[in-house]
Amino acid sequence: MAYTKRPDGRKLDEARNMTAEIGVIPNADGSAKFSFGDTIAIAAVYGPKTMHPQHKQNPQRGVLRCTYDMLSFSVTERKRPGPSRRSQEISKIIEWSLSPVLDLEEFPNTVVDVHIMITQANASTRCAAINAAALALAQAGIPMKDLVTSVSIGKLDKTLVVDVTKEEEDYKEGEGATDIAMTLMSNNDEITSLQLDGKIPPQALKEAIRLGRAATKKIHEVQVGALKAYIEENKK
């Protein structure tokens, strides 16, 4: 049987309920929270500030440095605190996702630190992390030529769906589950990150990218909504 019904009753191209909030960490130069259903990410931006150690400074432009981690109790089975191979890879993917829209040429020898924590996890954590980080960078006033938006597309047996949950990620029937996490510029058809694992024919992968493009448009509206609400709030 083809996968037609999602456990939580969502349409195939529907993301979970999303929330976005700006300025959740007062100490930071910019911060934001983003959630897809039960998956919640918070991000804080510190900088631009002088890069230490000094040998990592770039005299031509500022450097973006991201760290991603999960709270130990954010998953069903406790995650050992501290960096892992997985978190190091995701941190780098987040850096690559955000770098193309940042313009750090006016800030030589500096670093912009983006620290991201997953406080509660139910799949698509890297996508929530990127969406939160993009908002935090915007609040921090870092020059950006566009916003980026991230989404995970799943292929469950032969069916493409938007924003997979943990339950869907573990789907085993037919061709099983394929998870495709992608980040796109909000106003240009440019991919800033693309990761996949599973089993998908080349044609279906192309469709998945198109579906991701359509899905990020809606997520982008949530991001913009949060930024506008924040500006309104601070006019008072």
């Binding site: 089975e77 690559w96 693309l194 990761q195 996949l196 694992d197 599973g198 024919p201 080349p202 990218i209």
Partner: protein, 273 residues
């Protein structure tokens, strides 16, 4: 060799590629000379050396008995590590693996695992208690670019050559250094191949030399395999900071499928030799 390539060299490489040419005379989607040798390290359960031009890597397989993961009580496990050794290039230093090594290991691991070539269920000894654990360890011997794809081929060849060690059921211990005639439970019909495309200007190339690798703006790795008569993509990773348009991504997916079809038979034959 092995110093950072100058801007001048990078420009020359890029200009040449515009005309579809490379310094060593290859076409953009042509591999260097590929040599695969299995059984290169006697004490390993399986091993292979892969040379791609001047690039050389070795992969070895070791098995051990371990407890399974709580969510997969009836499945064996696999762990892939990559070391980019200081012996292989002046760019690498001793110490714990850095991000570039971790990334290669994780990409190769996903390609092998998701292809379904290994029947992890058959690696179960006692459900919930004892399973076989496969260690795929890959070392660079000489890095002249594209260690990534060479590592993937070496891992595949080493896995196919591996023999199960003897196991004492009474004591629950592995008798290291003694082997059975059994091979690992692999589906030999499935040949996962990792192909990394490097984008220079508007063009893609595969199997770059170190100089070409340095000139590339971005790269995207795709692991492909054949599954029930069709080509499947098992893993994708776009790396580096430069963005990639949706149109270019679609182009690279097509190129990957085409290149996989051309290469898989040849690599299969080379491994079986």
């Amino acid at each position: 060799m092995n110093i950072e390539e100058t801007n001048l060299t990078q420009r020359r490489i890029s200009e040449h590629l515009l005309k579809g040419r490379r310094f060593d005379g290859r076409k953009p989607l042509e591999l260097r000379k590929l040599e695969i040798t299995t059984g290169v390290s006697k004490n390993a359960e399986g091993s292979a050396r892969v040379k791609l031009g001047n690039t050389e890597v070795v992969a070895g397989i070791k098995l051990n008995v371990a407890t399974p993961y709580p969510n997969e009580e009836e499945s064996g496990t696999m762990m892939t590590t990559v070391e980019l050794t200081p012996l292989s290039s002046s760019r690498y230093e001793l110490g714990p693996p850095r991000f570039d090594a971790i990334e290669v290991a994780r990409i190769i691991d996903r390609g092998l695992r998701e292809s379904g070539m290994i029947d992890f269920k058959k690696l179960c000894i006692t459900p919930g208690e004892k399973v076989w654990s496969i260690f795929v360890d890959i070392f660079s011997i000489n890095d002249d670019g594209n260690v990534m794809d060479a590592a993937g081929i070496a891992a595949l060849a080493a896995l196919r050559s591996a023999k199960m060690p003897k196991y004492d059921k009474e004591t629950g211990k592995v008798l290291f250094g003694e082997w059975t005639e059994d091979k690992l439970p692999l589906n030999e019909e499935i040949t996962p191949i990792n192909l990394t495309f490097h984008k220079i200007g508007d063009n893609f190339l595969i199997d770059p030399t170190a100089a070409e690798e340095d000139s590339a703006e971005s790269r995207i790795s795709l692991a492909l395999s054949n599954w029930e008569g069709q080509v499947m993509v098992n893993s994708v990773q776009k790396s580096n900071e430069a963005e990639l348009s949706i149109l270019k991504a679609e182009e690279v997916i097509d190129l990957a499928e085409k290149t996989f079809k051309e290469l898989s038979e040849r690599i299969n034959t080379d491994i079986r030799k």
